[in-house]
Amino acid sequence: MSDLAAPNSIPGPRRRKRRFDAAHLALVAYVVLFVLFILAPLVVVVGSSFEPRELLRFPPQGLSLRWYYQALNSDLFVGAAWNSLIIAIFATLGALLLGVPAAYGLARFDFKGREAVSGLLNSPLLVPELVMGLALLQILAGLQIASSVLTLTLGHILICLPYVVRTINSAIVGVDRSVEEAAANLGAARWRIYLTILLPIIRPALYAAILFSFLMSFDNAVLSLFLVSARTSTLPISVYNYVQYSLDPAIAAVSTLLMAVSVVALFTVSRLVPLDRIKQ
């Protein structure tokens, strides 16, 4: 058939569709490569943790839990893990105590300087953690306060706060104001409105904020680097210090456990709220 055929003849669109398929396949193949690139460093860490011998390599030459056994019996790592856990729990509690009321205030009140307050509460996301850590370290040194689990927790509250404010704020904005007003008109006390009306509606966002903030603290390395001392270290910092001097499967086992915490937490959140909504 000649190219001069009517534009609506069959070959044109069909040819275009075939070309579309080839382009589409190339795109899918490319995305597969990209997925491999993203997963590779995580997969090798998990894989090499099962190595039975001393060598850090992927794939491992067998399957052994020997390094997990060693990691779980190491005072260094277990102590650091406890610190990380305690700090993450209290940092999350602190960020919730400060962040939830602030998120409510930002969502429900129109006041002068609202933008400024919102900017201020977001600022821990904008300032590089390296600088936050340095500034906190200097203030603590200036006031002669020694680094401890408490100072680490106080620092971590700062980085968890913006996530709590954002997540809770967008949930409250989504709740119709008239729901609260109706309850108030019917004579419900403020605390009762919060507990029996607002809380159940924003519960998924609350779970997301909790797990999110827990992970931000639990995985934090940069801020902690300035706030840890020889006696109080966290799990990411122990890994950071360890891999600078020696690379063996023990650290791969610790890293795998650290990663497992993230994956479990993330899986739990994704059951409760759509993921792309949290990250924005």
């Binding site: 602030a102 953690e129 990411p236």
Partner: protein
Amino acid sequence: MLGAVGPACLYVVILLVLPFIYLVYLSLQEGGHGADQTAALSLANYVEIFTSRIYLESLWGTLQLGVAVTALTLLIGYPVAYYIAQSGSRFAMFTMAVIILPLFVSVVVRSFGWMILLGRQGNVNRMLMGLGFTDKPLQLLYTPGAVTVGLVHILAPLMILPIASVLRGLDPALREAASSLGASRAKVFWTVTLPLSLPGVAAGCVLVLAHVIAAFVLPALIGSDRVKLMATMIYQQVMTANNLPLGAALAVVMVVATFALLALAGFIARRHRV
């Protein structure tokens, strides 16, 4: 109202704003070792940062790395964002999960993964030798190339998410109109889709650039002294060289740079609803 937002604001002021002001004050002290607290304030440290070779090198190195990583994440990430935005398949959802998951894995662990891959006996070297590109293992770890690849890996999600979000928001009717008027698929992409996605591209680029400037853990672990960057320089000045005022000045420069970039990203995002 004050009772609701007050405590949180006060917390950020006490633990972030005041310490930062103190840092600015420290950066104005006379540099050198054992700074004299009573000396007059001066801008000497800032002058030194922008005139002395070693600090200029770290500023320049950071900028070079930032541009390289931003360009690479854009080139690598755009097709992925395009795919995620267009396809509703299960694989597209899986890809989305793969992009988001690493954001929640400690950067220490991700850097360690690259240490395994890029080591002398690592998988990349074994693959290169297997393919006959080289006879002896190459020094890949602790090089500028390693830092670049590692940062592209860590920051790619920050490029992909805003672009995918803009692409998903585009009205499919625009593309259909262009192709029913006779434009080829390539022409539709170059003249309709790509220009309309530029706000997402801009937001992604600024976001990635700001994060390269602030990156510390990955360059510290898989880079080396040869990779001179602002972040590692700050850490060195403060923790090992014991030149706190100069480290503080470098930190102030870094904050100004990242704050400006991230404010710009926020502005683009709000303006175009990324």
